[in-house]
């Protein structure tokens, strides 16, 4: 791995990448949706069993949206990140100049930065909204929302990047991504007693939901750290599999 090469790939993807406008558009829609839900969170309160009725849990609403909808946004954004370069052949110009590892890491970094930025916008806007609607600022909650959402989305970025690396073309990558996300959902829905749920990022995302229920004193820090660590491990595992796959691939 070469940091400078990784940086050039990520920077180029962020500033001039063919998908960046599209990526920002769907991210923009997602942010707007989150803000809309934050705005109507008071009306939506009755839908959730909150532990206190004093603070409106703005972040819970956004976090739920991140948990449920964002994996699909990530999928749409990243399924063709590598496979498109394979399909068009543009990858040959790049790989003939740099290490394959740098290429994958650069692509991952670009996507991760985009989604971390999206989550940051939601977090900041949520804080501002909460402040102006007369609620106290919860910096800790904001930071946790940012970290947990970013890591959760990082898991999905690494999953879809791996699928994209394996695929010969965009169509295959899209189909494989859909099948994979259905499998993840299926495994997660197997029930609480089933060990298969541990194989899905959904499980670790939902495990953290209590933090945003407006009762931060109930946060189990060991569990929180365990979940953060697992999500990092999850991302690292899929990223390693992508690196291993690209190293063996004929381009």
């Amino acid at each position: 791995m070469n940091l400078s090469e990784t940086g050039v790939i990520a920077e180029d993807e962020l500033l001039r990448g063919p998908k960046i406008k599209y990526l920002l558009s769907i991210s923009g829609i997602f942010v707007f949706l989150c803000l809309l839900l934050i705005h109507y969170s008071t009306s939506l309160l009755s839908l959730f069993p909150f532990e206190n009725g004093v603070n409106i849990p703005h972040y819970l609403i956004s976090y739920l949206l991140v948990l449920v909808l964002a994996p699909f946004v990530v999928m749409v954004a990243s399924y063709d990140f590598i496979s498109n370069e394979m399909e068009t052949g543009s990858i040959r110009y790049v790989i003939s100049k740099i290490d394959r590892t740098s290429f994958i890491l650069g692509k991952f970094l670009a996507l991760f930065i985009v989604f971390t930025f999206v989550v940051s916008v939601i977090a900041v806007m949520g804080s501002i909204y909460a402040y102006f609607s007369g609620n106290a600022l919860h910096i800790g909650e904001t930071v946790l929302f940012w970290i947990l959402s970013s890591l959760y989305l990082g898991c999905f970025v690494s999953i879809f990047l791996f699928i994209s690396t394996l695929s010969e073309n965009n169509k295959t990558s899209f189909l494989m991504s859909i099948v994979f996300i259905i499998i993840l959902l299926f495994l997660f829905l197997q029930g609480y007693d089933n060990y298969l749920k541990y194989l899905t990022p959904y499980f670790y995302g939902i495990e953290n939901i209590g933090i945003f229920r407006g009762s931060s004193h109930n946060v189990e820090f060991i569990k929180l750290l365990k979940n953060i660590f697992t999500m990092i491990l999850y991302t690292t595992l899929f990223l390693s599999m992508s690196l291993s796959a690209i190293k063996r691939r004929d381009l």
Partner: protein
């Protein structure tokens, strides 16, 4: 002795159970213009992809400038420039931004990448089109951009996969002249093509690959002679059957063919001294030689001879 800048030993590539490249060993000397010849599907592109690190060999080793591709591929990639067969650029971006991006990947700073990119686009004749999106480029312009990006950061070796494919005669000539110019600047050029005339025009050494096997590698002149079973046309006053038989009995003569009453075609295996030997024999036998021409074969003939033997 000129050192090899590219050498492969026992290079093989297999897809499933089928070998597309089988035990290929080639040697490209420093500052060569090396032509890599073969029919469609012979294994030219596979070899080029292996040399540039796009494919993983099944067996064998690739040494470029003394470095092993298995262990030092990153360093190797910094000294080679690849022009792939298909010009697959990002259609929504302009030529200059492509060049700067590739330059930075080659390790140049933004400023250096920008300066070199402008200079190379100028050199390659794309100065006017540098801000135009590549999606609007013609095939020839894309080919030229392909060469320009390969020249970033002054590579020591330029590897081109059929660079003139689909170009008009003017474009072909421009690229040929450019390659000569680059070679004069000290860049080793490895060019694959099935255009034999083009290879004959610019290359000094040639390798011929056929169905995954390297069947010949030498200087162009040597290959033309080696594969020629060359024909020497001899004009002799008072040409007698005895003289014809004597010439036919020479060790290096394959056969003789009487073209007219005083013109004889002598088919020879390549031999440095063939002409003087034949001349001496005829004169000693009482013949008077008025014409002695060696018709060396074209590279095209040599190529077909070499590949025909394997059929």
């Amino acid at each position: 002795m000129i050192p090899d800048i590219i050498s492969t030993k026992g290079l093989s590539k297999r897809y499933g159970s089928q070998f597309v490249l089988n035990d290929v060993s080639l040697n490209v000397k420093n500052e060569d213009i090396y032509g890599f010849l073969g029919q469609n599907g012979a294994g030219k592109t596979t070899t080029i992809k292996l040399l540039s690190g796009l494919l993983i060999p099944t067996n064998g080793e690739i040494i470029i400038d003394g470095m092993d591709m298995n262990n030092e591929s990153r360093k190797i990639k910094k000294i080679i420039g690849l022009v792939p067969q298909d010009s697959s650029f990002y259609d929504n971006r302009d030529a200059l931004s492509h060049m700067i991006y590739y330059g930075r990947l080659k390790g140049l700073t933004k400023k250096d990448a920008s300066e070199q990119s402008n200079a190379l686009l100028n050199k390659i004749g794309l100065k006017q089109a540098k801000d135009k999106t590549v999606g609007h480029f013609s095939h020839g312009m894309k080919k030229r951009l392909g060469i320009a990006q390969a020249l970033l950061n002054n590579p020591r070796v330029l590897i081109l996969d059929e660079p003139t494919n689909g170009l008009d005669p003017v474009g072909i000539r421009q690229i040929r002249e450019l390659l000569r110019e680059l070679n004069n600047d000290g860049i080793t050029i490895f060019i694959s093509s099935h255009n034999l005339l083009e290879i004959q025009e610019i290359c000094n050494r040639v390798g011929i690959i056929d169905r995954g096997d390297m069947i010949l590698e030498d200087s162009i002149d040597q290959i033309r002679h080696l594969e020629s079973n060359g024909v020497i046309t001899v004009g002799v006053y008072n040409l007698t059957p005895e003289i014809i038989n004597l010439v036919g009995s020479l060790e290096f003569v394959v056969k003789t063919e009487l073209k007219s009453k005083d013109i004889l075609d002598v088919f020879v295996n390549y031999e440095e001294d063939a002409k003087p030997e034949i001349n001496k024999l005829i004169v000693e036998s009482g013949g008077r030689v008025f014409k002695l021409i060696e018709n060396s074969l074209s590279l095209e003939d040599a190529f077909f001879n070499a590949t025909k033997i394997r059929d």
